[in-house]
Symmetry: C2
Subunit: 327 residues, 2 copies
């Protein structure tokens, strides 16, 4: 049994390998080869905190994975990050815990960003004029970084509700591969970008269908729970291709759910990302199509990134702790 | 964040403190002060394995606890124990993981044994002639050891389906505080014991009501899942007091469930162990009464033993790993 901490885990992320492994995970999920029971949940009223326990496995694989993720929203008041957590890998043959990855939520951020890159790889137009990032937090940065592996475009535009945070994002990105412009009106972003990623915790639409350029692809990663919403539901109606990471999950609480509830689209008009990866003709077929991807996060992504990270770590890093008694 | 391994955890168990802390847990549970969502479950057909994820917290307490426990029934074929697992303590204020207890299932064994001692403390007759242990496995040993703290009786009798294992149990107990006799017929045990603990994975009754001596207390700890059964359901009918660790759980899959399904008793005739601890008149009131306790295991027991163990460890042991970055 091996234990690794965040410092070492951070050194393992290789975007291309991660994107490939996430793709394989989405395919396995959409082919029904993944066992993922309902998410465990604890809520702490007073501390404004919650804990999600996601667990599952790919059938006939080596490992199963349990992820414990916390979000405590008053933490910043005492100088702590909101999110933390860890992942545990267990053997499917013996039940032994093989590795603990004390990633403090980092691997969840990375697999979410990698899923955005997968969506762009299969759905964005061939020629990307400019990448639009909606939101200015950590995920807004990771998404842009991860897109580097799937597009040559290095021109980006960022918008956030708080203009200062947009400027901060821009200055933080100096020295990155990207030339970033921060804009004060989201319309400026939508007027020039044909690949847009939304990464906010919004509870009302930020992007409207009427403002989308022809040929735009939109990926929304913010709506991971009931009540959250980043996209005008009309976007799902006008889109030529509507992709989701998980049909049941997106219909339940993704951005997609608003469009389905309002009767703008039907469940049958959705296609899972895993199905598109396996059969790319289900995705974009023309440059001027509008495509949308709703990513709510599925446990197979955690399974895939935990396995990949552990495999890398066993080859290149010493664990902070190794159990002598067990294999 | 601190990590401790089995070697250090084993040194922390102090039976009296453990029994007291389990009592407090049962009381909190029966008073509705414990949040325990449904257990998470994964099954592995080919390896004949399963994984249970139990999690929850006592309201307004310092910690919440997630326990991951595995049982892989082909492990002995390759020289590994069936069960393994770990417990994680998190702060209810910040969500940070405070401690990982890599106990490999040991703490579950201990809290189960301590619950048996709690049941005996409140339900056994004042004068215990002889302790009867049904089953010859690890839990059969832990139960007897833990009873040392709640009774002066040092005379015990063991019965198991496999006579050789009974003899092995007896010889393993040489040097313990107990004088142990191994018997080949369970009737011999029932003829002389007025405190009986059943610890088997039986799926059919082993103990029959007609064989019980007046004044006997029976604790059953083996029926932790659907289909398991150690007691003749008539025992619940003839008993004067019927105690369970959790009414919903025991009615669902405990030994109690068979008696309820057969219409021998009603749910209203059950009393929870926590209620008996708080109000001992709900338990045994006369020496010649027959009493029964059905213990299926509740997550509050894990919460309590994890907290107690961690508190001891922080005072007396160095962790195998301490995170420098976080508190």
């Amino acid at each position: 049994m091996h234990i690794y901490n965040l410092d070492d885990i951070k050194k393992t992320i290789e975007p291309r390998a991660l994107i490939k492994s996430q793709e394989e995970g989405f395919v396995a999920y959409s082919e029904g080869r993944v066992v993922v029971p309902p998410v465990g949940y604890l809520h702490f009223e007073e501390a404004s905190g919650d804990c999600h326990i996601k667990y599952g496995y790919i059938k006939a694989d080596d490992y199963f994975v349990v992820k414990i993720a916390t979000g405590f929203y008053k933490n910043p008041e005492i100088g702590l990050p909101v999110g933390s957590g860890m992942m545990a890998l267990f053997s499917q043959k013996t039940g032994d815990v093989e590795a603990l990855l004390l990633d403090e939520g980092y691997l969840t951020d990375m697999r979410t960003a990698a899923a955005g890159a997968v969506a762009a790889k299969y759905l964005a137009p061939k020629h990307i004029d400019r990448i639009g990032i909606v939101g200015t937090g950590a995920q807004a940065r990771f998404q842009l970084e991860m897109l580097k592996s799937v597009t040559d475009c290095r021109d980006a535009c960022v918008w956030g509700r708080d203009e200062r945070k947009g400027e901060q994002y821009k200055s933080d990105m100096v020295g990155s591969a990207f030339s970033v412009q921060a804009v004060s009106r989201i319309e400026e972003l939508m007027d020039s970008c044909n690949l847009i990623v939304t990464t906010t915790a919004a509870r009302e639409p930020l992007l409207y269908a009427s403002q989308l350029l022809a040929g735009t692809h939109v990926t929304a990663v913010g709506a991971d729970a009931q009540g959250k919403q980043e996209l005008d539901p009309q976007i799902f109606k006008v889109a030529d291709v509507r992709v989701v990471d998980s049909i049941p999950q997106c219909v339940d609480h993704g951005d997609t759910s608003h469009a389905v509830k309002e009767g703008l689209i039907e469940k049958g008009q959705l296609v899972e990302l895993g199905a598109v990866i396996k059969n790319p003709e289900l995705g974009r077929t023309k440059e001027d199509q509008i495509t949308v991807a709703d990513l709510t996060g599925v446990a197979v992504q955690d399974i895939q990134i935990a396995k990949l990270t552990y495999e890398y770590l066993t080859h290149y890093k010493s664990p902070i702790y190794r159990d002598r008694n067990r294999a």
